[in-house]
Amino acid sequence: MTDPVLDIRDLKIALPKGSDRPFALDGLNLSVNPGEIVCLVGESGSGKSLTAGAIMRLLPEPHVRVAEGSIRFEGQDLLALSEREMKQIRGDRIAQIFQEPMTALNPQKTVGWQIDEVLRLHTGLGRKARRARVLELLDLVHIPDPRSVYHAYPHQVSGGQRQRVMIAMALACEPKLIIADEPTTALDVTTQLQILKLIRELQEKEGAGILFITHDFGVVAEIADRVVVLSKGEMVEQGTAAEVLNRPKHPYTRALIGAIPALVPPRPRDFRDAPVVLRAEGLVKTFAARGSLISGKRAPVTAVDNLSFTLRRGETLGVVGESGSGKTTVSRIVTRLLESDCGAVEVDGTDLLACSPRELREMRRHIQMVFQDPMASLNPRKRVEDLIAQGPIVHGADPKAARARARELLELVELSPAAATRYPHEFSGGQRQRIGIARALAMEPKVIVADEPVSALDVSVQAQVLKLLADLRDRLDLSVLFVTHDLRVAAQLCDRVIVMQKGRIVETGVTAELFAAPSHPYTQQLLASIPGRGWTPPDLATDAA
């Protein structure tokens, strides 16, 4: 057996005084062998990204620092090295790939310059040789037309390509260890799959060890050789991918894996006899050429192109697509937060788009929305009870009664009524989203439009909120238009699904049928890109709750 490239022993990272816990990371043991991909998995706040900072010696010292333990890279203790020696290792023998490909590249330098910088720092190559190597690297990560990308600025290439550029940069000096910190989290599923394949392919070619940091067990199933699970700074489990994924031992791991939505859609329910509560007819939204005075004219973008659908009482209709598909625009148009260019949105038979401003304000009570970002969608300066009671009060309810009702609604969404007098920032993400749901329910709407309501939440919280939504839907006979990018989430909740691409509906059908036999090539591609689609999470329902 070969020696590991990376060997971490009893690593403890101290947080500044007054933090919620003394150690961000408390006793981590981990090793990465050459040619191996080790996934470090945890939810937000688990300390997984700080591990990367500790290895690179780029922690925000002195506030956050390594308190104990050793980090050995190729047998050498990194913690004992001087800053100067460390600088020579960074980018040369250990490279790092970051989460946000947009912000991780300097906006004022060309792509070529930024890759070239690594070579300039760590090799004695001449200008011509470096340029040749950069073009070779761009080609290696499958960027079409490396020459033009070489001279492009980061904002001129797409998100997926930027991440390829980051990978090319990491590979420039053929490092022995690559730390990938959530490298695909900001990407669409189809791009994510391509990048994951690329990382696999290059790793097999170059033989580097990879420490892959992620929160997504689907991605783990896709790429990991071995897995280390972190919970609030403590290592709770480690083992081979097969062991951890299929036979998790620690309760935390079991809960996490149990929370992953299975790719098995619900049994189809029959809505043919239910009345139509929401009908969209021929909706079009074109964002005009923005004559921004600094950036100049841009081409007009058709975000939604001739969209029609119906939603029947009690039904949940999913709108699924990647970024740029127009799915968010749909949620804004049907609630008339955005004006459609033409078409009609009938709520219970009344065309919302034909309403006068006064009629519209009256009609809004019938179609309510749950928003994506639970922090941004609650006014930070209002108390929870005022947030929930605001709608009914605007529509003429007695303020006292509305606030009393708000407390009942809090109980309905499984929050303590004592929450009523608190401010939104005092709650966790999942709790805030419950408040958002209570606010929508306070209006007793005929239709609820949910725009990515769980995509900002950790997977365990996500499962709870989804369950709540499903419960409420069944109990209150709600009709839901559910917008999401996550097919697993759609499979959990939606009776029917609309698949959108570039503003158009490419396919629509009953969820179970569509998942079983997608007919459009794009739907097929989407389904094939779901990370970990080949892995069915073990049934842990019995002890997850």
Binding site: K87, R90, D92, A104, P107, K109, E117, G296
Partner: protein
């Protein structure tokens, strides 16, 4: 970046300034109308009085009996040709006086702003790189004190120290009129005369740029791409030069354009104290002597200068920020 792109961009930016200039024309016209007395009153006052019929004839001659919007139209047509009317104080066209005074003010502006900008940016960057150290505290405190000191008080204190007590620098004027210096001696003489006014005008703005640059560098240093560069193995100097400075400069350059008009306003006090024959001193004298045509001429000329400077900083910004495509 191609020449045609630059030209079309430049043209678009200039077109944008047109409504602003028109608004300023209307504004100065309104101010003139609001001011007590008009051209004819001044003329008649100059002559020592005249009978009512003659005054009426003069009014008709100057078009003052016309509807207001006709007067506005004529006024604007004249302004476009840089005809600002007649100064009854100087007995000369306003424009002639303005051209005479423009050079001094531009020289004062140019030196003050370039000093304030370069020193402010430099000190701000240093303070940010050593944030919360003794150096940073010293620089920041100095910045705060400069910022709080009015330019006229600073001027007096410098005069007290360098002219009255030490006798190093001349108190007023642009050059020593009695000395008849030529060549380099003249240049040195002018430089000596400009040291205190430049310092008085630039220190307050220096502290502006310093504070903004410090905040900007601190902000940029926290961004993801700086972390990326660190992970590549780049050293602190390299980070500063190649990754932080250019991005941190952008908001400071924006302020440079926005602040120019304020600095121009500040020259009124400084030019008056040091008796520099520039536009600022002229503005003060026009108020004292109630020469409204002159005052409006100065306002309009200053506005034009500000528009041009803003245009230049826009071009500079576009040059610095690769995200602005000059299409």
């Amino acid at each position: 970046m191609q020449l045609t792109q630059v030209l079309t961009y430049a043209l678009r930016r200039l077109l944008q300034a047109v409504p602003v200039v028109i608004l300023i024309m209307v504004g100065t016209f309104l101010l003139l109308k609001l001011a007590p007395g008009d051209t004819v009153d001044a003329l008649v006052g100059d002559m020592g009085g005249a009978d009512a019929a003659y005054i009426a004839r003069l009014r008709a001659e100057y078009g003052l009996d016309q509807p207001v919007w006709v007067q506005l139209g004529r006024y604007m047509a004249k302004l476009i040709q840089f005809d600002f009317g007649w100064s009854f104080v100087y007995e000369q066209p306003v424009a002639a006086i303005l051209w005479e005074r423009l050079g001094t003010t531009l020289m004062l502006m140019g030196t003050s702003l370039s000093l304030a900008f370069s020193i402010g940016v430099g000190l701000g960057a240093i303070a940010a790189r050593r944030a919360y150290s003794l150096t940073d505290n010293a620089i920041s405190t100095l910045g705060l004190i400069f910022y709080a000191t009015p330019s006229f008080f600073l001027s007096l204190m410098m005069i007290l120290l360098f002219s009255v007590k030490l006798g190093w620098l001349p108190v007023s004027g642009l050059s020593d009129v009695a000395a008849f210096y030529t060549g380099w001696d003249h240049v040195i003489d002018v430089v000596l005369h400009l040291i205190m006014p430049t310092a008085a005008l630039s220190l307050i703005y220096l502290s502006f740029y310093l504070r903004l640059m410090r905040a900007s560098v601190l902000e940029v240093a926290d961004l993801d791409f700086v972390r990326t560069a660190r992970a590549k193995g780049a050293g602190e100097t390299r980070l500063m030069i190649h990754h932080i400075m250019r991005n941190a400069l952008l908001p400071v350059v924006t302020l440079l354009g926005l602040q120019f008009s304020t600095v121009l306003g500040g020259s009124v006090v400084v030019e008056t104290i040091f008796a520099l024959p520039g536009l600022g001193q002229l503005a003060y004298q026009s108020v004292i002597q109630r020469d409204m045509n002159m005052l409006m001429g100065i306002i309009f000329l200053c506005a034009i200068i500000v528009v041009i400077v803003n245009f230049l900083t826009d071009l500079l910004y576009a040059r610095l920020d690769s995200r602005i495509a000059l299409k």
